[in-house]
Symmetry: C2
Subunit: 220 residues, 2 copies
């Protein structure tokens, strides 16, 4: 925080911090109480911000919640990229490709099984019946979807010029979304781990890096 | 209907028909208006049934909507089994295994992309925040999940005694669920078809029936 303070005025900092608190409270509120229990007033209270200040940042309920889901999605995917590039550097080029793929699949699936996904799910489902919300959430979902796909391709080192690879990665992201849904009502972690382990093996085979694949080490 | 009429009294028939109309109206209502717009009164009106008659069949809102999703899920999976056993008979044992797998994957994915899935999704998401609904929907989801898995294993002719096969089929069902979610706000059919085609190929390879697999014909 110190470094930022030196280049911005304290007023701008406060405004930025308020906005940040509102966005995080909005995601937590959506995840816990769903769309019908999530209003600007409830979020302002949770964030310890006056209703007027909240409305200064986000004039409508739709503004607040779509911005919140987008903000947290961006933060999460930046954290994911950082984590995995750090991990790649530690393991170096000698890591078993299977281990790397599994770590990537685990990290992608983790994006869809936390409070952010739960919040996004409430927003998507509400948008399917609310005309005011639908176009904004549809556009947001398309942006997040494209970004997730780009990220997954990069992390897996997948070559999309090979026929079928694009659809393989898309199917993986659909599976991650389905695993997120499966965890909505019950703790599905043990089953999910086994599915992730198996589908990481399948991905390595399909992307040509498993035992016998062109990019694999072939002896484990 | 004729055959049923001979073994039941007309009063039982009317009661059965009323119940059926209520269940179907409940699913359509959930899919269109979500949980917050779905009450016993709205469904009774839609089904052309008095509110009293509706409450005779389903004392609470939770009774009505969980029974509705369960009923339609059973009908859909019975129809799927019938359709695919008919198709199997037509194609016979000489059909390319890839074609059969793709038909099965398409049929399973279709279960998750229609109004039933949309209705179930509204119910699940509502249950995640409503204590009255949660235990019933959790139990219902577990029953539907087990039945879907059993059905998928049977239709794919998958041998679950082989390590990894169980998780392969589970991952496929998770993917189908994710594809259902992707179709909530936009028409995702073209992308979905390509993902299904690719993942049917991957499944054939993984289950050992693709070109080069132990059960395949190996020359196409």
């Amino acid at each position: 925080m110190g470094a930022v303070t030196t280049v911005r005025g304290p007023k701008q900092d406060r405004s930025r911090a308020t906005r940040q608190r509102l966005l995080e409270a909005a995601v937590a509120c959506l995840a816990e109480h769903g769309w019908s229990g999530s209003t600007v007033t409830v979020v302002a209270e949770r964030a310890g911000v006056s209703r007027g200040a909240a409305q200064h940042h986000f004039p409508t309920r739709e503004d607040l919640f779509t911005a919140a889901v987008e903000h947290v999605a961006e933060e999460r995917s930046a954290a994911l990229r950082a984590m995995l590039s750090g991990e790649g550097a530690v393991q170096g080029g000698n890591a078993a490709p299977g281990g790397r793929t599994r770590a990537v699949v685990e990290a992608i699936v983790a994006l869809y099984t936390g409070p952010l996904f739960r919040a996004a799910l409430h927003l998507w489902v509400a948008a399917s019946n609310e005309e005011q919300l639908k176009p904004r959430v549809t556009a947001l979902e398309a942006r997040i979807g494209r970004e997730s796909h780009r990220m997954a391709v990069g992390l897996l080192g997948a070559d999309e010029s090979v026929p079928g690879v694009r659809e393989t990665v898309q199917g993986l992201l659909d599976m991650a979304r389905g695993l997120g849904l499966a965890t909505l009502l019950t703790d599905d972690a043990a089953r999910r781990d086994r599915v992730v382990a198996q589908w990481a093996r399948i991905l390595d085979d399909t992307l040509g890096r498993g035992p016998g694949g062109t990019g694999g080490h072939g002896d484990s």
